[in-house]
Every structure is written in structure tokens, then in C-alpha cells.
């Protein structure tokens, strides 16, 4: 049972951390609970479909299908996070003012916030498909029903608990700095996902490694440890990254920092701020 719980926990943990960051970053968006639940539900359905198609995916592109599929899913998530982060750098101020002024929620419809819910779906899909295949194997291999029935909920509950802990920890950040903090977390998340995508492409020999192990920090934190795995998602930690992984990681960080700087709006003049306070409806989200 513990073996089942541990594997489920590890996969759920990765998705839960991503969902928590997205949940925090979409604070103040109306009906985001529905969007996030919807994202998770679509992700679970997608995971089952991917697991069912595992054979076709594995055989595609001369046997490099798995790596390419993973890399594509990861790059799609990176692109959507990037879009949101850059959009947010010019809208965070309005969002905070709005939340302070009316204490209410903004509509998600016209914003790029909805983009983040697709990231939730992709994260659940990628990690979930492994759980489905693993559980199928356990069931087909004649593993005890007791182990599965006990292990699956235990793993899910523990993984989700860590996600909630991160979420409520993030909520303690003062509102003034809140979206700056969540935006930086999204930048590091995207950079880490890009690095993982590069790793898959090296595994399929589609990209040169540019140095297989640039450093080795196994003595500090291994990739296989739970903390190492959590940091892998949160900041892209790798105990022995290849050169191309570092290149992809750095490229995403640099691109997003430049993108954020270019779109950042100048602080509004004092008169504007005063006026908007009176109206209580500052710069309706465009």
C-alpha cells in the first residue's frame, strides 16, 4: 500500500504545486474555483486519454513520441505562463487597486487569467497519465485491492495537502507585493518546465546536451528526494543539469524579465490615483 501511496503522492505533488501557484496568481478573479476545478477535471480526463493512447504515442516519431509529447505539453505550459506573466506586469496594479477598492473580484473573461487554467489542465494531464498507467499495471499485475484502495487516497490526500500548505502560505504575502511574488514564482516555474522539456529532447537525442552534468549537487539534495522534486517544480532545481537545460532555464527567465520590463506601465500620476479612489472603480480591467 505504501508503494502505491508514494508513487501517487509524488505525481500528485508535482501537479498540486503548480495548481497552488496558479490558484494564488489568480487571486481576486471571479469564479476561479470553477475554472480551477474545471482545469483539474479536464486534466484528469486528458490523463486517461493519454494513458489509453500511450502505445500510439510511444511508437510515434521513430520511438521518440513520449519525449516529444512531454516536451510539447511542457512548452505549451511555458508559453501560456509567459503570456500571463507579461500581461500581469501591466495589470497587477489595477488588480490590486480594484481588490482594495471594492474588495470584490474581477471578471476573468477578457483577461489572460483564463490562460492559467489551461496550465492547470496540462499539469494534471502530464502527471496524471503516469498514475493511470501505474495503477493499470498494479491492477493487472494482481496487486491487492486493499493496497490500491488504501494507497490511492492516501497519496492524493498527502499531495493535495502540500499544495494547500503552499497556497495558504502564499496568501500571507501582503497584497502590495502579492502579485509581484506570484509573478516571480510563475517565472521560475516556467523556466523549470522549459528545462525539463529540454531534458526530454536530449533523452530522445533531438537536442545536444551541451555538457551532460554541469555540476553535481547530489550531496546537497538529490532529484529523487521529495524536497528535490518539489524544488524541481518550483524553481527548476536539478542536482545535475545538462548545459542545454541551464540554457533553456536562463532563456525563459531572461525573456520574461525583458517582457515584463517592456510592458510594465509607468506608475499613475498622483491625481489619477486620487481620482480613482474617489470613483472606487480604478481603470476597469481592459
Amino acid at each position: 500500500m505504501l508503494g502505491v501511496a508514494l508513487l501517487v503522492f509524488r505525481e500528485v505533488l508535482e501537479a498540486a504545486l503548480i495548481v497552488s501557484i496558479v490558484a494564488a496568481a489568480t487571486r481576486g478573479v471571479a469564479r476561479r474555483g470553477v475554472y480551477i476545478s474545471g482545469g483539474i477535471a479536464i486534466g484528469v480526463l486528458g490523463a486517461i486519454v493519454v494513458a489509453l493512447c500511450a502505445g500510439a504515442i510511444a511508437e510515434a516519431v521513430n520511438g521518440a513520441g513520449q519525449e516529444l509529447f512531454n516536451a510539447c505539453v511542457l512548452f505549451a505550459a511555458v508559453a501560456m505562463i509567459a503570456w500571463h506573466v507579461i500581461w500581469m506586469s501591466s495589470h497587477a496594479r489595477e488588480l490590486v487597486q480594484h481588490m482594495q477598492a471594492v474588495g470584490g473580484a474581477v471578471k476573468a473573461g477578457s483577461s489572460s487569467l483564463t490562460m492559467l487554467f489551461a496550465v492547470v489542465a496540462l499539469a494534471v494531464l502530464r502527471e496524471g497519465s503516469e498514475i493511470v498507467l501505474f495503477l493499470y499495471g498494479m491492477a493487472a499485475g494482481g496487486a491487492g485491492i486493499a493496497g490500491l484502495v488504501g494507497g490511492i487516497p492516501l497519496g492524493i490526500v498527502c499531495g493535495v495537502a502540500v499544495g494547500f500548505a503552499l497556497y495558504f502560505g502564499l496568501l500571507r504575502i501582503p497584497l502590495r507585493y502579492f502579485f509581484t511574488a506570484t509573478n516571480w514564482m510563475l517565472v521560475l516555474l516556467a523556466a523549470g518546465l522549459a528545462s525539463t522539456a529540454a531534458r526530454f529532447l536530449v533523452q530522445a537525442d533531438w537536442l545536444p546536451a551541451l555538457g551532460t552534468q554541469i555540476w553535481n549537487s547530489d550531496w546537497l539534495l538529490t532529484n529523487g528526494s521529495v524536497i528535490g522534486q518539489a524544488l524541481h517544480i518550483l524553481i527548476g532545481y536539478d542536482a545535475h543539469p545538462s548545459g542545454i537545460q541551464m540554457l533553456f532555464w536562463a532563456a525563459v527567465v531572461v525573456a520574461l524579465v525583458i517582457g515584463m520590463a517592456l510592458t510594465k506601465r509607468k506608475p499613475p500620476r498622483r491625481s489619477d490615483v486620487a481620482q480613482s479612489r474617489v470613483q472606487g472603480e480604478p481603470h476597469a480591467a481592459a
Binding site: G3, L7, G55, G63, A140, P208, T222, H240
Partner: protein, 110 residues
């Protein structure tokens, strides 16, 4: 522009891959009864090589290593190929993520 660069890199690496494919050493691991056969592979240092994993069980496995950063699912009755290295001398563990209690092995790089 980034996309063009990426395509260029992909194309170049693909070409270099084809050029070296012929002389790249290849090894085979068989998974049977959730165990690797052999459990130990000796490979040359500082050389890229291929490992083919043949899953003869009726359940899926995942060939994985935290030591050399690889993970790939091996469906029942099918084979996968993973490119590894070049690695420095040493021992690198690998395992079957779906059957960790039995599926363990090690690469000896020398």
C-alpha cells in the same frame, strides 16, 4: 526569432544525430518479472550511448534514473530506446519507477 533558432538547433542536432548514429554503442536491458536483466551494465566513460529496454512483462514499467536524469515509460511487450551520456566515470543507479522494490539496476561507467 526564437522559434527559428530552435528549429535551426533541432535541425543541426538531428543531422549530428544521424551522423553519429552508426557508431553509437547500444546496450539492451530486459524487464522480466519486474526485474532488470542484467542488473549491471558496463559502459564507456565520456561516450554517448543508447540503452534499449525490452519489457517482457504484461504490465507497464518506467525506466528511470535520478542519477543520469532519464525517465521513459515502457509499455507491456514493447521496447524503448533512451539516449544517455556522455557520463563521467562512476556508478549510476536506475530503477523501474512502477516496481521499485524489485526493479533496480546500476550503470558502471568506466
Amino acid at each position: 526569432m526564437i522559434r527559428r533558432l530552435l528549429i535551426a538547433i533541432l535541425a543541426l542536432s538531428l543531422l549530428s544525430g544521424i551522423a553519429f548514429a552508426a557508431e553509437m554503442p547500444q546496450y539492451t536491458l530486459t524487464i522480466k518479472d519486474h526485474k532488470f536483466q542484467p542488473t549491471q551494465l558496463t559502459v564507456p566513460a565520456d561516450t554517448q550511448f543508447k540503452v534499449r529496454v525490452d519489457n517482457q512483462d504484461s504490465t507497464p514499467s518506467e525506466f528511470e534514473s535520478s542519477d543520469f536524469n532519464r525517465e521513459k515509460i515502457v509499455l507491456p511487450g514493447s521496447q524503448i530506446t533512451v539516449f544517455i551520456g556522455p557520463l563521467a566515470k562512476g556508478k549510476y543507479k536506475f530503477f523501474d519507477d512502477f516496481h521499485q522494490d524489485t526493479g533496480q539496476g546500476v550503470l558502471i561507467v568506466q
